[in-house]
């Protein structure tokens, strides 16, 4: 079935413990090879939505990833399929060296240290950071940190990349380099961003969040125009 979605979400609802209703019945599909931008104002629920996809949060409704329903017992499989790149790279690069950080995920998958290291080196080559193996992550620039963070998920061989505000701390050259990098990666991608230009260059489709719901969808241009979003 070439057309079965990689991500399938139906009627997803979530309320934070403090009573904030962050998601009110979201329905969404992501198909193989697609890159979809998630747009929307601050607090509209983009991050909350993304965090449901690999079970960091769990609300009501259905989610399946590559046909596997997201559920307490399937988290291991789901988290291997979805490579989640966080907004703040400092939260993601917590190991003392770049190599150890990139190998962290593969080691958790149960790979041998040797295989984990091999994969980590390959992932670092893919993002062009193979020269920084032994560096401490906090000595890297924001753009380099982002690349290493992406390598950290690529090493787990995911089917989908989920990126939350990937351009936040980047300068224009860093942003351009990230754009080029993401274009070369074959995985399906889902990126939440306020950077419409970035989304326009990368995403074939966009969804617009408003108060915990998808208010509009279409090409990035259409959505931006319909929602007055620039």
């Amino acid at each position: 079935m070439p057309d079965s979605p990689l991500i399938r979400v139906r009627d997803l609802r979530f309320t934070y413990p403090d009573g904030t209703q962050a998601l009110n019945g979201v329905c969404f599909d992501l198909f193989p090879g697609e890159c979809v931008a998630v747009l929307g104002p601050n607090g509209s629920g983009k991050t909350t939505f993304l965090m449901h996809l690999n079970g960091l949060l769990s609300g009501e409704g259905e989610i399946s990833i590559c046909g596997v329903p997201v559920h307490k017992d399937t988290l291991r499989e789901v988290r291997q399929k979805i490579g989640f790149v966080f907004q703040n790279s400092d939260d993601q690069l917590f190991m003392p060296t770049v190599l150890e950080d990139v190998a962290f995920g593969s080691l958790n998958l149960g790979l041998s240290p040797k295989e984990a290291e091999r994969r980590a080196r390959r992932a670092l080559e893919l993002v062009g950071m193979e020269h920084a193996l032994e560096k401490a992550p906090y000595h890297l620039s924001a753009g380099q940190k982002k690349r290493v963070a992406i390598a950290g998920v690529l090493a787990m061989d995911p089917a989908i990349l989920v990126l939350d505000e990937p351009t936040t701390f980047l300068d224009p050259p860093g942003r351009r380099a990230l754009l080029e990098l993401l274009k070369t990666l074959p995985q399906a991608k889902l990126l939440a961003t306020h950077d419409v230009g970035f989304a326009g260059h990368l995403a074939g489709r966009a969804v617009f969040f408003e108060s915990g719901n998808i208010a509009s969808s279409g090409t990035v241009g259409e959505v931006v125009e319909k929602c007055g979003w620039c």
């Binding site: 965090m51 690999n54 960091l56 291991r76 988290r79 291997q80 979805i82 989640f84 966080f86 703040n88 400092d90 939260d91 993601q92 917590f94 190991m95 003392p96 060296t97 190599l99 150890e100 190998a103 962290f104 995920g105 080691l107 958790n108 998958l109 240290p113 984990a116 290291e117 401490a136 992550p137 906090y138 950290g152 998920v153 787990m156």
Partner: protein, 238 residues
């Protein structure tokens, strides 16, 4: 930040840098014990150990004057006690207090200037220190940079608004403002910790840290440990 200097030193490639952390830690402990158990600090002994340590810094290609200055961080404390000892008529004790504490600090500095802290912590695991404690230390060190940066920018912001400490509004108000700043820093740190935890879970963390490779304790490490121990003991004999 000032300790970034030591961090930079520790990433060198000299003979000392390449020795296993356990060998260097062992050599350090022997040296500290030799200094610590000496009755007083005769000039010959102090001078010999001092020269030995300087030789170490030179071998490691760490700037000697910089190292001497950093180790002086202990001096305010030890000179105060040395002064008390001198005043109460015990000059030998005064010299021993100041000299021993300075030499010891210099020795510890030589270890951390030639060993990145994460490697050092990994080495301690090899001698039985609980991994849980070492991982706490590793995360502490990793996020020290991040959170100290936030604290520095908060302090700067506070200074721009008149500061917590020196002048301006009533004492109690300033005290509470400082407490509020700390509480905000705390909440941010807590939030950062939760995000780190989430990012660990996202990459399949299931309750145990698996580590990449353990360092190897080779013949050169043995040679280093044994010869430095021998020198330490021989010098102590003078």
């Amino acid at each position: 930040m000032h300790y970034a200097v030591v961090e930079r030193w520790s990433r060198g490639r000299s003979f000392l840098h390449r020795r296993d952390a356990r060998a260097k830690a062992g050599a350090l402990l022997i040296l500290l014990t030799a200094i610590g158990t000496a009755p007083g600090l005769p000039a010959a002994l102090g001078g010999a150990y001092f020269a030995y340590l300087i030789l170490g810094f030179a071998m490691a290609r760490v700037p000697v004057t910089g190292a001497l200055a950093r180790a002086a961080a202990v001096l305010p404390f030890s000179l105060a006690f040395a002064a008390i000892a001198a005043i109460s008529g015990d000059p030998a004790r005064a010299i021993a207090l100041a000299g021993k504490s300075y030499l010891s600090a210099l020795a510890v500095l030589l270890l951390v200037a030639t060993t990145p802290l994460p490697k050092l912590l990994r080495g301690f695991e090899g001698i039985g220190v609980p991994r849980f404690l070492l991982m706490v230390g590793q995360f502490l060190y990793r996020y020290l940079f991040v959170i100290a940066g936030q604290a520095a920018s908060m302090r700067l912001a506070a200074l721009c608004r008149g500061g917590f400490a020196k002048s301006g509004p009533a004492h109690g108000t300033r005290f509470r403002a400082a407490a509020g700043a700390l509480a905000v820093l705390f909440a941010r740190s807590y939030g950062a910790a939760e995000n780190i935890h989430r990012s660990m879970l996202s990459r399949g963390f299931e309750g145990h840290f698996h580590l990449l490779r353990s360092p190897r304790f080779g013949p050169a490490d043995w040679t280093f440990l044994v010869s430095s121990a021998a020198v330490t003991v021989a010098v102590r004999g003078i």
